[in-house]
């Protein structure tokens, strides 16, 4: 039983990353700490774009991306689904038409229940029908572009995991004269969203936004805990650089390099 010395820093950091969220959760549960998620431009843009759609009397399109909930991309899709509930509620409240497309059959039950629940909460079940959500099996890309064109959507919201096809969906929305709002944590795809979309969720902003709309206390405290770690890394880098400039390599030493 002996600790491998050069991994002490690693272990400490890991323990911190794991424990701090629980402390935050406890504090916020005890009302000792009040957490609030910062403004996320793209999230406000969603409401704005739906408002615009209502004014124009044109529908809204939402897609949860290519991935399902049975592989490593599941968290991205789930973030999309919880933002979908927000979008669906807005559409139900403002009484505008909504189209939801999914890229993988495994998401179908979840999305259906999410949308139905949203319409139920806004007691707008008269507007609800099961074909709001549909799964374009095969030719996901073409079908969505077709939909955007035919229904002449005013907002095209894409949140989830996207691959090569992202740019084409953006293009579809652009041609339909819709406001494009994209969200995708995969860094290789983000630039394509940034150049094409009017508003973009960058990386982790997806998860943050999904928590902001769902407002689960546990999730929120996890986010808060992560933020503390991020703060620590920022301080470490700046402090380390200042010290190093004076020839003190203290930070590097405690990080075991």
């Amino acid at each position: 039983m002996s600790l491998i010395p050069q991994r002490l820093a690693n272990l400490t950091l890991l323990v911190m990353i794991i424990c701090i969220p629980f402390i935050i959760y406890y504090l916020s549960k005890e009302k000792k700490l009040f957490l609030k998620i910062r403004r996320i431009a793209a999230l406000d843009a969603i409401e704005e774009s739906i408002g615009r759609a209502v004014e124009m009397g044109r529908p809204v399109h939402f897609t949860t991306g290519l991935a399902g909930i049975t592989d490593v991309r599941a968290p991205m899709t789930l973030a999309g689904v919880s933002i979908l509930s927000h979008v669906a509620r807005l559409c139900a409240r403002l009484n505008t038409r909504l189209f939801v497309t999914i890229g993988d059959a495994t998401v179908l039950p979840l999305t259906l229940s999410t949308v139905r629940e949203a319409y139920r909460v806004e007691n707008a079940m008269d507007q609800y029908s099961d074909d709001i959500v549909f799964f374009p099996s095969g030719g996901y890309r073409q079908r969505i572009i077709q939909l955007l064109q035919d229904e002449n959507c005013a907002a095209n919201i894409m949140i989830g995991a996207f691959h090569g096809e992202a740019m084409l969906l953006v293009d579809g929305g652009y041609r339909a004269g819709a406001i494009n709002i994209g969200g995708n944590p995969r860094i290789q795809m983000i630039p394509f969203f940034v150049v094409g979309c009017d508003y973009t969720f960058i990386g982790e902003e997806n998860y943050a936004a999904s928590i902001a709309v769902s407002g689960e206390p546990l999730e929120l405290s996890y986010l808060g805990g992560q933020d503390i770690i991020k703060g620590i890394t920022v301080i470490m880098i700046i402090l380390g650089s200042i010290l190093t400039s004076f020839g003190i390599t203290f930070i590097q030493k405690i990080l075991g390099s």
């Binding site: 690693n10 990353i17 982790e204 902003e205 880098i237 380390g240």
Partner: protein, 175 residues
């Protein structure tokens, strides 16, 4: 076309998995007498229980172990590769070197920290802090620009490669 592709791919996948099981599982039992290999074989077989509604919970054992291994392996190493090493690599000395060196150090330090700060979600981006995170956003935009440019070249060259493959090797237009 697409169906041919899918069919072939899953056929290949099945072959590959069978071969792996032959060599690594059965082979280990036969050659090295590792009879404990029967455990993962059983767990793996249990994965298929999801097709039988009554016993579909059985697959959680196999899945559980896979998830556990994947998650624990990645999480312990991530701390090193993606956090500690990144921090130490970002720590730059401002004192020595010429002006260029100094500027680069500044960009690395503030670019990295501000782009981290951009992803702090429970603090409102106001005042000087807001400015700081704005810098982060701008630095990230430059990074995205690099990614976008690289993708453009990638796609362009990919396009060219395939076309000239068609011209050269199929149609033989070009010598």
């Amino acid at each position: 076309m697409q169906n041919l592709l899918i069919g072939a791919t899953i056929g290949h996948a099945i072959i590959m998995s069978i071969k792996t099981l032959q060599d690594n599982a059965i082979g280990k039992i036969a050659l090295n007498g590792r009879f404990d290999i029967i455990i993962p074989l059983a767990l793996g077989a249990m994965l298929f229980s999801r097709f039988i509604p009554k016993y579909n919970w059985l697959d959680r054992y196999g899945v559980g172990i896979m998830v556990a291994i994947g998650a624990s392996l990645s999480m312990s190493r991530m701390v090193d590769t993606d956090i500690i090493n990144q921090i130490t690599a970002s720590i730059a000395s401002l004192s020595y070197g010429d002006l260029i060196n100094f500027i680069n150090a500044i960009i690395i330090i503030f670019g990295t920290t501000s782009s981290i700060a951009y992803f702090i979600f429970t603090k409102e981006q106001k005042g000087s802090y807001g400015l700081f995170t704005r810098i982060g956003r701008i630095v990230m935009m430059v990074a995205f620009g690099a990614v976008f440019g690289s993708s453009l070249v990638g796609r362009a060259s990919y396009f060219v490669t395939t076309i000239s493959f068609i011209l050269r090797d199929w149609l033989g237009i070009i010598a």
